[in-house]
């Protein structure tokens, strides 16, 4: 039984520590996603603006490949933010038509790129005619994520250890209490008051019957 109790206490300490770790990790992931969203919103604003210009021109009848001013626009917007690696305008088949980085023109954007934000360019019939892709420096995210991880680790590690230790201490105290109660329970003279009084009542009733008295 002592082994069972100690095993249980150890298991409970592991559960407490694991759940603190779980809570800290999931809090980190929640904040990391929020940080990514906050950072990407900024690039999304830029992509939205360029997509808006392209859509306005398209609705005036200028086909996307013919919107040559987009080259200047992408370069100007990219220059404004040093964390932007490139701003591409692609056609419906993901071929880069205009880019702030001339080397990327005529290359192909392959689906969903990491560290990039895109907005669709639509015609008046809501069909997709292309997209604007803003690629940003992954360091922008990494720095924030590193700071978040550092902040949470600083508090999570001691909290985790503290939780496990507190569980062990409380567990040992409770086990000691149970052990004491078990030892007392083995000796009727040391039973709790309610049990002693029930026992006394029972013994009196039994004794009374033996002596022939009315209990």
């Amino acid at each position: 039984m002592i082994r069972t109790s100690l095993g249980l206490i150890a298991l409970f300490a592991v559960i407490a520590a694991a759940c603190v770790a779980f809570g800290a990790y999931f809090s980190y992931v929640t904040l990391q996603n929020a940080h990514r969203k906050a950072v990407e919103t900024r690039f999304g604003v830029t992509a939205e603006r360029i997509a808006g210009s392209a859509q306005t021109a398209a609705s005036l009848g200028i086909a996307l490949p013919a919107q040559t001013t987009l080259a200047d626009l992408t370069q100007r917007e990219a220059r404004l933010d040093p964390t932007v690696l490139s701003i591409d305008v692609t056609d419906a088949h993901d071929r880069v038509l205009f880019s702030s980085d001339p080397a990327r023109i005529d290359t192909r954007e392959s689906g969903r790129t990491a560290n990039a934000v895109s907005r669709r360019v639509e015609n008046d019939l809501a069909s997709t005619i292309g997209q604007v892709v803003v690629r940003y420096n992954p360091q922008t995210l990494a720095a924030g994520e590193h700071a978040l991880s550092g902040e949470l680790q600083t508090i999570a590690t001691p909290t985790l250890l503290g939780s496990a230790l507190a569980t062990i201490v409380i567990g040992l105290l409770l086990a000691a209490g149970l052990g004491r109660a078990a030892r007392r329970a083995a000796d009727p003279a040391q039973w709790p008051r309610a049990a002693r009084s029930a026992l006394a009542e029972a013994e009196a009733a039994h004794a009374a019957l033996k002596t022939g008295e009315r209990p």
């Binding site: 409970f12 404004l80 902040e151 949470l152 083995a186 709790p192």
Partner: protein, 662 residues
């Protein structure tokens, strides 16, 4: 006296609350140091872009004073960036050239100033953007609510793990000792029959008790021999007061045994909830005629339909197989289906794996429910079913956030391996913890005439159609359909809507065991079912007053409280009604109950969609609420007009043979 297991569970809950509060505090500091500056950087980006556009116009020869449409341009920027309270283009002499929005009330609101300069570098104007601290603080608070929710999830997971450990067979000796010590503390001197193997701590207590009971039995025989009626009455009264002469069977652990396995299995299915529509949408063939929206919802519809249709046949199958075997086979089918879902590249193959997962899910569900009902005495059934319901609700709360993170980290398909792992774990825990299967020999399918006679049972039809079906209809229609649609229309984000929807399951998890205990103690199961439906349905009528998020939150809270009141007593009433089926078997009746209940699930969104289109949000919700109230009143009235046979005091049910495999 608080035992080691209960005490340490409580201690873990308190320790985790403190630990998670510390993490939330650190999260707040982290948010202020990283995310708030990122929001400010967005204002800078908007400022730089707008300033560059103005510079470009000036370079093209348009004088600054002659720029047109500046106000509407700035207004467009403000509308696209909610955290920007005011955008102002100001000349160095103070003349305002363009303005959108208004300054926030807070004097310390952060401002981002971007200079508009000529090619020569001479200053032309400044674009001053004032950030709304209220919006930023709302965003931070929303994040902290998410972190707090993660804390609740961690706590619930911890408590389920504790329950798993506490319910393990290795702790029987400890449980036996705790039961004896607790009895003595209460002045109860009964014998305990729960310890298969006497530990050195338990044996001396039991020896004393055995001696005492022997003396008591002798004394009573002596009194009987003498024909001393007073002494007999006195000794019997002593027995009643102290428990002498009584053998205590110990607490019923039917539901506690099944809880960890059920929690693990249900969480396996819940993991997929956040990414399933997205994955289905991505897998749907591009030329599919049904459209992307339907393709996204089809796996959910197939799953729900298979679960609903399997309830009735599987209730009988589970009896034939035995509960443990039924659970294990169901979990194995589901685990294999999750592997299939993870590997399937074809949309229709994926649909097939969802259908087989539903078959496994239904078999596990009915086996677990059957186990709880088979192994609980009628007067313990409400509390036992509350534990069963709670395990499912907790899994529903914990699964989606974990599944979302798994899908983000590993990809949607691979996240299904997480479901596989949990289903296998649930299977192993069930195989190790559930009692050996006792297949019911000759268990046959329930015939229509038998179900007909069950429906004729006092109040059973009224319970099914007046309470069970409307309850699920109300839940799905209001909580899962009308509220999200309305709040989305009001401009609230999906995350904010999700946070509001959490009110229902959190209240259910917290309140179901409390109301179940109260219902059990009072024996007023039907009263709790009626009152719960009135609270939940009446709550929906509040939407006639207004549709603000606070009122919606109140409606969801009343829905949670109302259904927490009724859900376990309702299942207990159904199990009691099963006595009216020839042979007194519960399987078919429970299957029928779940089938009708899930019909409410299935019809809820479609009917709510129709009502929303014809009557609007408030009226549609109020109509559904009214239907629930009328159903509850119908059920209550059925109790006045028919002899009550289903709702009796606990003591009177003790004689029931149904479910007494103890």
């Amino acid at each position: 006296m608080i035992g080691l297991r209960a005490g340490i569970s409580l201690a873990i809950a308190l320790i985790l609350c403190a630990a998670l509060a510390a993490i939330a505090f650190a999260a707040r500091a982290a948010v202020e140091r990283t995310i708030v500056p990122a929001i400010a950087a967005q204002a800078e980006s908007v400022g730089r872009s707008a300033a560059a556009l103005v510079e470009s116009a000036v370079t093209s020869g348009v004088p600054l004073d002659k720029l047109v449409g500046v106000d509407s341009y700035l207004e467009g920027l403000r509308a696209a960036n909610l955290e920007l309270a005011e955008l102002k283009l100001v000349r160095p002499d103070g003349k305002v050239l363009g303005l959108a929005g208004a300054p926030p009330e807070d004097d310390h609101a952060q401002q981002v100033v971007t200079a508009v300069t000529a090619r020569t570098g001479a200053p032309l104007a400044s674009l001053i953007i004032t950030i709304d601290p209220g919006v930023v603080s709302d965003q931070v608070n929303a994040l902290l609510v998410d972190v707090a929710f993660i804390g609740i999830v961690s706590l619930l997971v911890a408590l389920e793990l504790v329950a798993l450990v506490v319910g393990a067979r290795g702790t029987e000796a400890l449980a036996a000792l705790e039961a004896r010590v607790r009895s003595l503390a209460q002045g109860r001197l009964w014998m305990h029959s729960d310890a298969a193997e006497k530990s050195p701590f338990v044996a001396p207590i039991d020896q004393h008790m055995a001696l005492l009971h022997e003396r008591h039995a002798k004394a009573r025989s002596e009194a009987t021999r003498r024909g001393d009626a007073d002494a007999i009455a006195n000794l019997d009264s002593l027995s009643a007061r102290t428990g002498l002469g009584t053998v205590h069977a110990g607490e019923n652990h039917a539901a506690t045994i099944i809880r960890p396995a059920l929690f693990l299995f249900m969480m396996a299915e819940e993991l997929a909830r956040p990414f399933l529509p997205r994955l289905a949408g991505a897998m749907a063939p591009s030329g599919m005629e049904m459209g992307r929206d339907l393709a996204m919802s089809l796996p959910i519809v197939v799953f729900m339909a298979c679960v609903a249709l399997s309830q009735l046949p599987f209730a009988v199958l589970s009896e034939r197989l035995g509960r443990r075997r039924g659970f294990v086979i169901g979990a194995a089918i589901a685990a294999l289906s999750y592997v299939g879902s993870a590997l399937a590249a074809d949309y229709f193959l994926f649909l097939a794996t969802r259908a087989t997962a539903a078959i496994g899910y239904a078999l596990v569900f009915v086996s677990a429910q059957g186990h709880v009902i088979d192994h609980s005495r009628p007067h313990e059934r409400t509390a036992a079913l509350a534990v069963f319901v709670r395990a499912i609700m907790v899994a529903g709360l914990c699964g989606p956030p974990i599944g979302g993170v798994l899908a983000d980290r590993l990809g949607d398909h691979t996240a299904f391996f997480g479901s596989t792992a949990l289903a296998v774990l649930g299977l192993l825990v069930a195989a190790l913890s559930m009692p050996r299967s006792e297949p019911v020999k000759g268990a046959a399918g329930v015939s229509l005439s038998e179900l007909g006679s069950a429906l004729k049972a006092p109040r059973f039809a009224a319970l099914l159609f007046g309470c069970a079906l409307p309850a699920k209809f109300l839940l799905v229609a209001i909580c899962f359909y009308l509220v999200p649609v309305e709040l989305q229309k009001q401009g609230y984000s999906a995350a904010a809507i999700g946070r509001l929807q959490m009110i229902y399951p959190i209240l259910m998890v917290a309140a179901v065991p409390i109301f179940a205990r109260l219902a059990e103690r009072s024996g007023a199961h039907a009263g709790f079912v009626t009152m719960g439906a009135l609270v939940a349905g009446g709550g929906a009528l509040l939407l006639l007053i207004g549709t603000s998020p606070w009122i919606v939150a109140g409606v969801l809270a009343l829905l949670g409280l109302g259904q927490a009141m009724s859900i376990a007593p309702q299942s207990a009433l159904v199990a009691a009604a099963a006595r009216h089926v020839p042979g007194g078997r519960s399987a078919g009746v429970l299957g029928l109950f779940r089938l009708i209940e899930r019909t409410g699930n299935a019809t809820g969104p479609a009917a709510a969609g129709f009502l929303l289109a014809t009557a609007g949000f408030a009226s549609a919700s109020a109509l559904i609420g009214l239907m629930v109230v009328l159903g509850a009143l119908g059920f209550a009235l059925s109790g006045r007009t028919r002899a009550s046979g289903t709702d009796s005091a606990p003591g009177s049910e003790a004689a029931s043979t149904e479910g007494s495999r103890l």
